[in-house]
Each structure stands twice: as structure tokens, then as C-alpha cells.
């Protein structure tokens, strides 16, 4: 496998990296706010995609339908936090995580009931077209996914570093008691973070649905590699989440190009499993340190 093959594999992995990074950023944000791994993130990504599909089918112009769909994603994040996560607080983080699992199952069932189990084609946000990379193609929508991820990453980094709101959110996540003593409502900050996380998930889902089948079962599961990306990069860092997504995306994208692995069934998952175990072995305790040292970025 030569250098050219490696470069080709990297380029072809960009759509995967973009998708997983957007999802991972949302997962990290929510985790920082609630210390809960939101296993319903895939559902929170898929529902806005269906909403946009429906609004588009009703004839609503894209400039109105898109913000509305993203808003619905944020609203869903708020609902999940208020209904399924916050009430479980007294029972501990594990119970809260279970609450998100309930949302996952419930969400898939509801979406399948409303929109059926047939794969649909999501609303395209980018022009039809593609670029050719080594006898494969990358659609504009897939490139747009990666570009959007970069823009969002930059915007969120700037938000948390340079704005008062970002400072409030970071502080509230890092030390809610101290923040409340300073007049900050940590509950409000938590809810706001869930809303932002839901909106981010919605963006990811909308863009994914344009390049992958919009399906109540398939699309939510695209978030699974994003969880591994979060673990690789650290549960408390957006930068780490993007880095982790890059590792996961490249691994999944490059494996088929490795001689001998194309026909090995499950090779990408095997590689990711090994990677996950290495992470467990080498930096399981350091995940806690990341929470203490790092800010939300």
C-alpha cells in the first residue's frame, strides 16, 4: 500500500470524519453539561432530518424549513433533558444514561411509525455533483458535511473561548456550585447545552440524510462510531472529539484499501474494537483528568 493509496484513503474518509465529528461534538457538549453519555444522540440527529423531509414535502422553502428543523432538534434535546435525564438525577448517572436509552428505543419506534421503515432520500443541502478521487467519487454533499463540521467546530471553539456565554457554560459545567454562587443558573446552562447539542445533532442528521438513506433504524446507528470517537478523544474535549472522529473515520475508510482486509468480514469493526480496548487500557483513568483539567474545549 503506497503513499498515494494512503492519501486516497484519507481523502475518501473525509465524509465519515465529518459525520462522526459533528455527532461527537454534540455528545461531548451534553456530557460536559450533565455528565451523562447521551445514547439517544442518534435519534436526536434523525428526527430533525425527518422533520425537514416532511416540511420540504409540504412545500416550505428551504430557508424556512432548515432553521425550523434545526430548532426542532434543539427542542428535542431540551425535552430529553427535562423528561428523561433530569428526573433521574437522584438515581445517579447510570440511571440517567438508561433514560437516554429509553429515548433511543422510543424515538426509533415513533419515527418508524410515522414515516415507515422504507429508506427515504433526505433533502439535499448542496448541489448535486461530485469530485472524482482515484476512481471513486465524493459527492458535494459529503464534502459539505466535512466543511460544515469545520465551521461548527470553529464557531463553537470561538463561542466557548471568547464569549461570555461560553464562559458561563464552561464554568457551569466545570463547577456548578461556584457558578451558582456567582449568579449563574446552572440548570439553565445545562438546558441550554442540551438544546445546543440537540441542534448540532440535528445538523448532523440533516446532512447525513442527504448522502445516506434516511431510515429510522440505520441513521441513528451512525452515531455509534461517534461514541468511540468521544472515548478516544476524551469525554470532556471538543478538540479531542474531532481528533477521535478523525481516527475512527480514517480507520473505517482505510481498512478496505489494505490488501487482504477487504474480504475479511468485520475488519473495520475489529480494528475499532482493538482501538477501544487499547484506549481502555491506557487512558481510562486519564479520562477523569481530562474533565478536571480541560474546559469544554
Amino acid at each position: 500500500m503506497g503513499l498515494i493509496d494512503v492519501l486516497v484513503g484519507l481523502v475518501l474518509s473525509l465524509p465519515l470524519v465529518g459525520a462522526y465529528a459533528i455527532l461527537a461534538i454534540g455528545i461531548v457538549m451534553i456530557y460536559r453539561a450533565s455528565k451523562v453519555l447521551n445514547l439517544a444522540h442518534g435519534v436526536m440527529a434523525t428526527f430533525p432530518a425527518y422533520a425537514l423531509y416532511t416540511l420540504d414535502g409540504m412545500g416550505m422553502p428551504l430557508f424556512a424549513a432548515l432553521p425550523l428543523a434545526i430548532f426542532l432538534g434543539g427542542a428535542l434535546g431540551w425535552v430529553v433533558q427535562r423528561v428523561f435525564v433530569r428526573p433521574m438525577r437522584k438515581l445517579g448517572e447510570t440511571a440517567q444514561t438508561v433514560g437516554t436509552v429509553i429515548v433511543l428505543g422510543l424515538g426509533i419506534a415513533i419515527m418508524a411509525t410515522i414515516w415507515g421503515a422504507r429508506p427515504l432520500t433526505g433533502v439535499a443541502l448542496f448541489p448535486e455533483g461530485y469530485i472524482t478521487v482515484a476512481r471513486s467519487t465524493i459527492r458535494y454533499g459529503e464534502l459539505g458535511l466535512f466543511a460544515t463540521m469545520l465551521v461548527l467546530f470553529g464557531a463553537l471553539s470561538a463561542l466557548f473561548r471568547f464569549t461570555d456565554l461560553g464562559l458561563l457554560m464552561r464554568g457551569s459545567a466545570q463547577n456548578p456550585r461556584a457558578a451558582s454562587l456567582m449568579g449563574v443558573n446552572p440548570e439553565l446552562m445545562t438546558s441550554l447545552t442540551w438544546i445546543m447539542g440537540g441542534a448540532l445533532a440535528g445538523v448532523a442528521g440533516i446532512m447525513l440524510a442527504a448522502v445516506a438513506p434516511l431510515h429510522p433504524y440505520i441513521l441513528p446507528l451512525q452515531a455509534l462510531p461517534a461514541f468511540l470517537a468521544v472515548l478516544l478523544g476524551g469525554l470532556g474535549s471538543i478538540v479531542g472529539a474531532v481528533g477521535g472522529a478523525a481516527v475512527v473515520g480514517v480507520a473505517l475508510g482505510m481498512v478496505p484499501l489494505i490488501p487482504g482486509l477487504l474480504h475479511l468480514q468485520g475488519a473495520p469493526q475489529l480494528m475499532l474494537a482493538v482501538l477501544a480496548m487499547v484506549v481502555m487500557a491506557t487512558r481510562g483513568e486519564r479520562v477523569v483528568a481530562t474533565d478536571v483539567r480541560g474546559g469544554i474545549v
Binding site: V8, L12, S13, P15, L16, S34, K35, L37, R89, G92, E93, T94, T97, G116, A117, R118, P119, G129, V133, A134, R135, S136, T137, I138, R139, Q174, P176, S180, L181, E187, L208, A212, P213, H215, Y217, I218, L221, L228, L231, G253, M254, P256, L257, L262, H263, L264, Q265, G266, A267, Q269, L270, L272, A276, M277, M280, G284, V287, V288, D291, V292
Partner: protein, 606 residues
């Protein structure tokens, strides 16, 4: 100032390291489990018997029964030397359980083969005498409505299936259609002697009906799951997951037949009650569900659209050991053809792939490519059969690319494929390419191959899994000219003029108006349920598993939906043929299917 606490009012360290470790472990274990399942898919320890797909027909090693020796073709049977069944279809496992109690059971003693044979012979004789030249399904207005299995499971008598209600039934509940037409063509022409080994034939397009004068009684010789007024059957279905895109509508086809039969008073006064459970096309979950069906005492498993779980159950011997009839399956996996208690109605995936290979070769193709689903068994078996057929004919497989379903992108796999086929903007280096994928995966494959000729060949073929309007509509111009093969007569001109085909469309649309009635798995489910009803009708009122087995082992089922389906004790390839249809899609839209006038092409290995 609000000081009510957020989850970590004590600071970040309050989140226990143990919780984090547990989360990491769970996620890592999840990936490890997925990897293990993917790398070692055959958890039962049994390898697929690829010798059965030897196109030379030289080997006929044992199938699931491990007998190790092919049975000699029965006199007058209609399969060729390359038959890949080796079982003898013995009926030793007939339960002959007597239904007792509650006034709904019969007390007939268990019978031996001769008793069954004589009963069957008399049934056949009375049926022939009363039904020659008449429809098998009588028309009715009103009558009984279909019963929602979630509420309609009968529990009278010890032999009724246990409905604990812990299963989620994904079935459709359709109220009775008072305008049932019952315009079935054909007649029941049942012949056969007392031993039930003769070539009994049946035809019809609406399922079976009660023979004249047939009434259930306390003395009936019935099996578990059969009561005085019901025949309880069950099936796993696929409502979500990768297979949902082509299998989720199969229950509609099943219920279209059952609702019609039940509205007409059932089979010999017995309604057929169907319970369905979604297993998401998961092999382990499906097998466990089937085992539960067996333990709960259901009479039979009709159609069973979820082939993965059924395949596991067959390989594990669950079906054979229980002696439970599985009638009308979709032929996705080869193991369906190796069990004495399974009767597929579909053309096997391996057969379709061999037919495609031969069709392409006969039309000049010498270099081939295949993209196949590597998660589900049908992909593995079909790809293997295709490659062996190509090699046997002297062709070359230049591109052989397995892909994982449910991915968002296949960039690397597409590169590998297009490199192997030497696909460029000016042409494809592969004469023929086959897509052995489910629709959602094919759609993503298309997305990763947007360039001219990318992901395809000079001629592109699709397996029956892609024979849905939904897929063709999504695929549009990319699929223009793609040839998809099916073992049925789909509702496409001129075949849609056949009475049985038109009836099928009417029936399924009455169940769900917007259904994709060209979905071949929906059509297969409809046909499969018809065959099951016919087998029950032939045995009524003594509905027992042994009789059903004998009836099916000698049945020649004629239907407008397919070529004549003939099962025998040592041959399950009732449908050995397939015909081709071309996707017409230009100008950015799907314009319909065009019949290629191939006729039914036969599997070169059978």
C-alpha cells in the same frame, strides 16, 4: 440566586471513575461484540455447505441432516442429477398430538402412516369430487374479520399456543373487506392415492377453502396449535434494520391471504390466526423467537420472511427436531432447501445468481464483477454461487467486493471495485456486474459511485432484493438499464394481465393502499401463504403436521404468480427459474420496469 444543584454540585470529581470506566467498557465491548459477530458469523459452529452449490453437480454432500449421501431421485420426480437435497423427507417426527379439553379438542389417537394416508386419500377424493372446476375460495360478504394477533390468540385447550403477550407483534390488523371478490381462477384437481405419495396438484390464486361438507369435529386428528375453530400459526418478520427496506411489507401479503380466507369462513371452519414477531433480521434473535414459537405449540410457521433467524433454526436442527412445517419461504438462504420441514416458494438466491451469470455469459460477457452484502448469509452464498458459475463457464471475476450494509459511505470499496474493473469515464472494464445488496445499501453504493460507469459494468444486474419500486425510484438514472431477476410473475406488463397477478395486486392494496406491490418479497409472501393454506385445506378436517408434510411433498402448485411449483420428498427446489426485467429511468426519474422477454430461465445447476 438559584442554588439548586446540577448533577455535579460537588465538582467534577463527583462523577465516579467507576462510572466512566464502565461506560468505556460497555462501548468497547459493544464494538468487540459486533466485530466478533462479523468475523465469526457462524456462531452455531456449522459451516454453510457450499458443496451444494457445486455447479458441476458432482458432489452432493449431506446438508443440514448430515446424512452424507444424496437420495436417489424418486421415480417421476422432476429434478435433475444436480439435486442438492439428501434427506428422505421422513415423517417420523409427526406429533399427532390430540387436542383435548374445553370441548374443542378431538380425541383421535395418533396415527401411523397408513392411517394418515387413508385419511388423506379420502380427503383428496372428496375434495376432487366436490371441487373439480370450482374455485378454491368462495366469495363472501362480511363474515369474520381478521384477528389482531395481539388480542386474538386463543388459549382454549392445552394445545393452544401460549400467548404471554411479551412479544411485540408487528402485524397489520385489517378489518374485513366486505367487497371481497374471490375471483380466483383455476380449479382444485387433487389426485393421489392413500399413501399420499402421488403427484397431487393444486392451483388457485386466493388460497384454499373449505371442501364441501367439511366440518371440524371432536374426532379430528389434529396437531398442536389446531383447535376446533382455529389454526394457530406464527412467523418472524422484519420491521426494522437493514432488511426492512425489502421485507417489512411481507406481513401485508400474508395477511391479505389470511383475511380473505378467514372472511370466507376459514379452512374447513377453522380460522387461521397468525402471530408475528419482529426480529430485525437478526439471526440469534430470530432463532430464539422461532424456538419460542415451537415451545408455545404453534401449528406451523408460514412464510417466515426473516430468513436469518430461520436459517439459524434450520442449521441448529430446531425445525427438523420439532417437525414443524415452514411453508412458503423466500429462498434467501440455501439451508431452506435442505430441511424436510421447509418448503420454499421462491427461487433460491444461489439459483438466481447462477441464472444471472449464465444470462450474462450467453450475451457475451466474459469479465464479471460483483458487489455483495457480507453481513447476511444470502450475500455470502449468492456471491459464491455466482463466482463458481462464472468460473465454470470460463469467465473471469475481475472485481469481487464485499461491503458492510448500513454505512454512510463506501469510498474505499468503490475505489477497489472501480480499479479492479478498470472503470473510467469512457467505459467499464467489466462486461457484467451484479449488485447483490439490499436496497438501502445499494443506494449508498450508488452514492459512492456517482461518476460515469462507476460501480457498474457494461451490463449491470441486480438480485431480486432490488426488485422494488422504491429502490428504482431512488436510484433513477444510475440504474437505467439495470436488469433485475425474479422467480415470480410481477405485476408488470404484460404479466399484470394474468388474473392471479391482478388479484394479488387488488388483495394487497386492499390491505394497504400505497404499498409497493412490485416488491417481490411481498409477492412471495402472498404466494407462500397461499401454498400454506392450500396444504391445510387438503388435509382438513384432520389438520396435522404429517398430513401437511405429505401434502406438500406431492404438490404441484399452479399459480399465475409463478411457474408451477413442485415439491417432492427429496427436492425442495420447487422454483428453479427466474426472469429478467429492466429498469427504465431517464430524465431524472424512474419510468417503470420493462419485461425483457427472457421467459423463465432455469438454474443451470439444477
Amino acid at each position: 440566586m438559584q442554588t439548586n444543584g446540577s448533577p455535579s454540585t460537588q465538582g467534577p470529581q463527583s462523577v465516579s471513575a467507576g462510572y466512566k470506566t464502565a461506560v468505556i467498557f460497555v462501548v468497547g465491548a459493544l464494538f468487540g461484540a459486533v466485530a466478533a459477530v462479523e468475523v465469526f458469523p457462524d456462531r452455531g459452529g456449522q459451516q454453510p455447505n457450499f458443496a451444494l452449490m457445486d455447479v458441476s453437480g458432482a458432489t452432493n454432500q449431506g446438508g443440514g441432516q448430515g446424512n452424507g449421501q444424496a437420495a436417489a431421485p424418486a421415480p417421476g420426480s422432476d429434478f435433475d442429477q444436480g439435486d442438492d437435497s439428501d434427506f428422505t423427507g421422513d415423517s417420523d417426527q409427526d406429533e399427532m398430538i390430540v387436542v383435548e379439553g374445553g370441548g374443542d379438542g378431538s380425541t383421535a389417537p395418533s396415527g401411523d402412516g397408513s392411517q394418515q394416508g387413508s385419511q388423506q386419500g379420502s380427503q383428496q377424493g372428496s375434495q376432487q369430487g366436490s371441487q373439480s372446476g370450482s374455485d378454491t375460495t368462495s366469495t363472501s360478504e362480511g363474515g369474520q374479520t381478521s384477528t389482531d394477533p395481539g388480542s386474538g390468540d386463543t388459549a382454549s385447550g392445552p394445545s393452544a399456543p401460549d400467548s404471554s403477550g411479551d412479544d411485540s407483534s408487528s402485524s397489520d390488523d385489517s378489518s374485513g373487506d366486505d367487497t371481497s371478490q374471490g375471483t380466483n381462477s383455476g380449479s382444485v384437481d387433487v389426485t393421489g392415492d392413500g399413501s399420499g405419495s402421488g403427484g397431487g396438484s393444486a392451483s388457485g390464486s386466493g388460497g384454499g377453502g373449505a371442501p364441501s361438507g367439511c366440518k371440524p369435529s371432536a374426532n379430528d386428528n389434529v396437531s398442536t396449535g389446531v383447535t376446533a375453530d382455529t389454526i394457530n400459526v406464527a412467523s418472524t418478520v422484519v420491521s426494522d434494520g437493514a432488511g426492512a427496506s425489502l421485507l417489512s411489507s411481507s406481513p401485508v401479503g400474508m395477511r391479505a391471504v389470511l383475511n380473505k380466507v378467514n372472511r370466507d369462513g376459514g379452512v374447513c371452519g377453522r380460522r387461521i390466526e397468525l402471530k408475528t414477531v419482529n426480529d430485525s433480521w437478526d439471526a440469534a434473535k430470530g432463532q430464539q423467537t422461532i424456538k419460542r414459537f415451537i415451545e408455545d405449540g404453534y401449528f406451523a410457521l408460514p412464510v417466515v420472511p426473516s430468513s436469518e433467524g430461520l436459517g439459524q433454526a434450520i442449521l441448529a436442527g430446531d425445525i427438523k427436531n420439532a417437525g414443524i412445517p415452514v411453508v412458503g419461504t423466500d429462498g434467501m438462504r440455501i439451508d431452506q432447501y435442505n430441511d424436510p420441514w421447509v418448503w420454499p416458494v421462491a427461487t433460491a438466491t444461489v439459483s438466481t445468481m447462477r441464472i444471472i451469470a449464465k444470462h450474462a455469459y450467453d450475451n457475451g460477457a466474459r469479465t464479471f464483477g460483483i458487489v455483495w452484502d457480507n453481513r447476511f448469509r444470502f450475500g455470502l452464498e449468492g456471491a459464491d454461487a455466482f463466482k463458481k458459475q462464472v468460473q465454470a463457464m470460463g469467465g473471469t471475476v475481475k472485481a469481487d467486493v464485499p461491503i458492510e450494509p448500513d454505512r454512510t459511505s463506501y469510498g474505499s470499496e468503490a475505489t477497489s471495485f472501480n480499479n479492479a474493473c478498470d472503470n473510467t469515464s469512457s467505459g467499464s472494464g467489466c462486461d457484467a456486474v451484479v449488485l447483490l445488496l439490499v436496497p438501502s445499501t445499494a443506494e449508498t453504493w450508488k452514492g459512492s459511485n456517482s461518476g460515469a460507469n462507476a460501480g457498474r459494468g457494461k451490463a449491470t444486474y441486480g438480485h431480486q432484493t432490488l426488485f422494488t419500486d422504491d429502490f428504482a425510484t431512488m436510484c433513477r438514472d444510475w440504474c437505467n438499464g439495470m436488469m433485475v431477476f425474479t422467480g415470480y410473475n410481477p405485476p408488470i406488463p404484460p404479466l399484470d394481465k394474468k388474473a392471479g397477478v391482478a388479484q394479488y395486486v387488488q388483495d394487497v392494496r386492499s390491505e394497504r393502499s400505497g404499498i409497493d406491490f412490485r416488491n417481490q418479497f411481498l409477492q412471495g409472501a402472498y404466494l407462500g401463504m397461499q401454498v400454506f393454506v392450500e396444504s391445510v385445506a387438503r388435509c382438513s378436517p384432520n389438520v396435522n403436521r404429517a398430513c401437511v408434510q405429505q401434502a406438500l411433498n406431492s404438490m404441484d402448485y399452479q399459480s399465475d404468480l409463478a411457474s408451477t411449483l413442485s415439491w417432492r420428498a427429496n427436492s425442495r427446489h420447487a422454483n428453479k427459474t427466474a426472469q429478467g426485467f429492466r429498469v427504465e429511468a431517464t430524465g431524472g426519474s424512474f419510468n417503470g420496469w420493462q419485461y425483457m422477454q427472457t421467459g423463465f430461465l432455469k438454474d443451470p445447476a439444477l
